[in-house]
């Protein structure tokens, strides 16, 4: 007789390993599997400890500065991220996990137990983050007393996080006869992630006394008002219960997909026989990058810049006078946040296909040529989101000079994409495991690469009170950074 918990634990480890391998930059199997298994197990624990620490700190600060209601959103955002990030790899793993079902069935595991194993192993990908978020926020709520803002925010964040992760798994696993529709659906599925990112940027603007009370009856925002009366508390509790129900429903639905990936069959429009379309090398690379990213499970990445644009426009319209009196902050923060969001694009493009890296190695594609294609795509995405923003600024009759930072703001993104190429080449060459430490180093260096030109812009703006020269300096520094990073790539 087998133990469902033990089998689930084994399946969970396999899922973790497969997801980890599939989500690696190179898409190649790690040469040091033992270290990869260790890294994939530690990732969840390190992530939980780090995020719980941030969550605790931010919640406590909210209480100390006399804004306990802010702690609900802090807890919501960080709990959400803990759950979604830890289970994100699972959507990659589902691509290659159907063999696990075949294996278990040959070992006489019946269908009923199989379903329990799938559910339990799915939960194991997020158990530690869920427990740590609940424990940390419960302790803070008890310590400070009053309405348990952090605890309620965390429960809602966990529920929405589980629902989002489940949607990722379902969308990533489900086959479709309409590939375009599937790509669009995948793009939309990333919206909850984006909305939470958007929420996090408004934390410091929360003030129930000055906010429209209609918000007290909306999901998530109702929690800000929960301490102001029994009716608001009840509304918050009802929404929390609804979120939990949604999470449970989607969780069990997704569990069915975890170990039984449907066969993907896409019937594309048949082209006339014998027609081949040969392009220039860069244009062929560009096309393949676009096609791969749209057809793969990372299609949602394309929703990021455009979704953020919509959020920024909505924010600008709801704070009409704000944009005209604080144009500078708005202009500085917009390319910065957009740049950070778009820095996921080259990362996603590089990992968009399993074993893709090997194909790029066995064809005559130099790292520089490969990079140029990624640079072109990120710059196109940047301008696609920036141009409407510039139109918005013109609509608000902003100083025409204030458009210059937006126009030249692609520089930091250009430089960080070049760094991404180095990181990618190194990962492939080393054949090493993408450890948490490796990813943290990547994140820190990318931040430094972005911060140097953007910091120079801000300092020069304060000194010169001009948009043009600081923007030019920002661009020159970024291009110099990119050139430095292209040097080792050119040698290959």
């Amino acid at each position: 007789m087998y133990s469902i918990r033990k089998v689930s634990s084994t399946v969970y480890r396999e899922l973790l390993f497969q997801g980890y391998t599939a989500s690696r930059l190179s898409g190649m199997k790690p040469s040091n599997s033992r270290s990869a298994i260790r890294a994939s197990k530690w990732n969840k624990i390190i992530l939980s400890i780090t995020y719980s620490g941030i969550l605790a700190l931010m919640s406590v600060i909210s209480y100390i500065i006399g804004r306990p209601y802010s702690s609900s959103l802090e807890s919501f955002v960080w709990s959400f991220f803990m759950v979604t990030i830890s289970s994100l790899n699972l959507s990659f793993a589902t691509q290659q996990s159907s063999y696990i079902k075949d294996l278990l069935l040959t070992l006489s595991v019946n269908e009923g137990d199989f379903s329990r194993i799938a559910t339990l192993s799915f939960f194991m990908t997020m158990d530690f983050p869920v427990y740590s978020a609940i424990v940390v926020t419960a302790i803070i709520s008890l310590l400070f007393g009053g309405f348990p803002y952090p605890f309620m925010g965390s429960i809602q964040g966990i529920a929405i996080g589980i629902a989002t992760s489940s949607v990722f798994v379902i969308v990533g696993s489900k086959g479709s006869s309409r590939p375009r529709l599937r790509s669009i659906f995948r793009a939309i599925s990333i919206l909850p992630l984006m909305i939470v990112v958007m929420f996090s940027s408004f934390i410091m603007e929360i003030s129930p006394s000055s906010m429209n009370h209609a918000l007290s009856f909306l999901p998530v925002t109702s929690t800000f008002f929960a301490g102001e009366g029994i009716i608001y508390s009840v509304v918050t509790l009802i929404y929390t219960a609804m979120f939990i129900a949604l999470a449970v429903l989607l969780f069990f639905r997704a569990s069915g997909f975890i170990l039984s990936t449907q066969e993907i069959y896409i019937s594309l429009r048949r082209k006339a026989a014998r027609s081949f379309n040969i392009r220039g090398s860069i244009s062929a690379l560009l096309r393949v990058d676009m096609v791969q990213s749209f057809r793969s499970r990372i299609a949602g990445i394309w929703a990021l810049p455009f979704g953020y644009l919509i959020a920024a426009i909505a924010s600008a319209f709801s704070n009409g006078p704000y944009i005209s009196s604080n144009t500078f902050m708005f202009i500085v923060s917009y390319p910065l946040i957009l740049g950070i969001m778009l820095s996921f694009l080259p990362y996603a493009l590089y990992l968009s296909e399993i074993r893709g890296a090997i194909v790029f190695r066995i064809l005559p594609i130099s790292p520089i040529r490969n990079l140029l294609s990624k640079e072109a795509i990120t710059v196109i995405a940047y301008y696609a989101a920036e141009v409407p923003m510039m139109a918005l600024l013109l609509f608000y009759r902003a100083n025409i000079h204030s458009l210059v930072p937006l126009l030249l703001g692609f520089g930091p993104l250009f430089a960080s994409t070049a760094f991404m190429a180095i990181f990618f080449e190194k990962t492939v060459k080393e054949g090493g495991a993408l450890s948490t430490l490796y990813t943290i180093v990547y994140g820190i260096v990318t931040l430094i690469i972005d911060a140097i030109p953007l910091g120079s812009f801000i300092i020069l703006y304060i000194v010169m009170h001009s948009y043009i020269y600081p923007s030019l300096v920002m661009l020159i520094i970024s291009l110099a950074e990119a050139a430095i990073m292209m040097m080792p790539l050119a040698k290959k």
Binding site: I354, R361, R369, K429
Partner: protein, 247 residues
């Protein structure tokens, strides 16, 4: 005839603590099929990955007298990996277009002939991800051969192929060497190696244990066929005997 198409000298590949390839040296000349034979985990795939620059190595690799693996050299190489290296979101047609575009040369007639030969026509507009293992392997084979490369690197190329496709591929390999091309061919199937390889290197635990023509290998091991010679060379013959007796 092209000489010294591939020169490998003192090649060493390490994965953490483990040495996968240990100071391996061999060369493949034009008009030659060099068979790298070895048991599972002997270092065959690691050797081929080194030649492609996919893994970190020490030692020297000289391809077509153009130096170590680089994107420039890849234009003259055709590769079939043990697991087909394809972009699975693309259709075979899109993949061939992509390969032709980045190589800067595309012989449509040859691609059409290869597609016909491997009976891929009806799958040309289906995503590679939805193809069977055999058809994926065929796509990889067409992509490796469509630009008439000078060097073919074949790592277990007959994996998942049907009998007809294997025969066609053997014929294509033979035609390739008859025209002066070179082949580095890795396999653990002795019958295949026996029939098509010009020279053979038996590799075990990352080291070359024996090298020569089929006849020389058999003579060195004092064996009547390649399988016996192989097992004797890697000292597995006596082990197998006692294992079978114990079963």
């Amino acid at each position: 005839m092209v000489k010294g198409v591939l020169e490998v000298t003192k090649l060493t590949v390490r994965y953490a603590e483990r040495i996968a390839v240990n100071e391996l040296s061999f060369s493949v000349k034009g008009g030659e099929i060099y068979g790298l034979l070895g048991p599972n985990g002997a270092g065959k795939s690691s050797t081929i990955k080194s030649v492609l620059g996919l893994v970190k190595y020490t030692g020297e690799i000289n391809i077509l007298e153009m130096g170590p693996p680089s994107s420039r050299v890849m234009n003259s190489i055709g590769v079939v990996m043990e697991t087909p290296a394809l972009l699975e979101a693309l259709t075979p047609r899109e993949f061939f277009e992509f390969a032709g575009s980045v190589r800067g040369s595309f012989d449509q007639k040859r691609v059409e002939a290869l597609v016909d030969a491997f009976e891929l026509t009806e799958y040309m507009d289906m995503p590679t991800a939805s193809l069977s293992a055999g058809n994926k392997q065929k796509v990889a084979v067409v992509s490796a051969m469509m630009h008439r490369p000078k060097l073919l690197l074949l790592d277990e190329p007959f994996n998942a192929l049907d009998v007809k496709s294997v025969r066609i591929m053997k014929g294509l390999i033979q035609k390739h060497v008859d025209e002066g091309g070179a082949v580095l061919f890795s396999t653990h199937i002795m019958e295949v190696a026996e029939k098509i390889c010009t020279r053979i290197g038996i590799i075990n635990a990352g080291k070359i244990m024996a090298e020569g023509t089929l006849q020389e290998i058999e003579e060195q091991a004092n064996a009547g066929n390649l399988e016996d010679a192989f097992l004797k060379t890697i000292h597995a013959d006596e082990q197998i005997k006692s294992l079978l007796e114990g079963l």
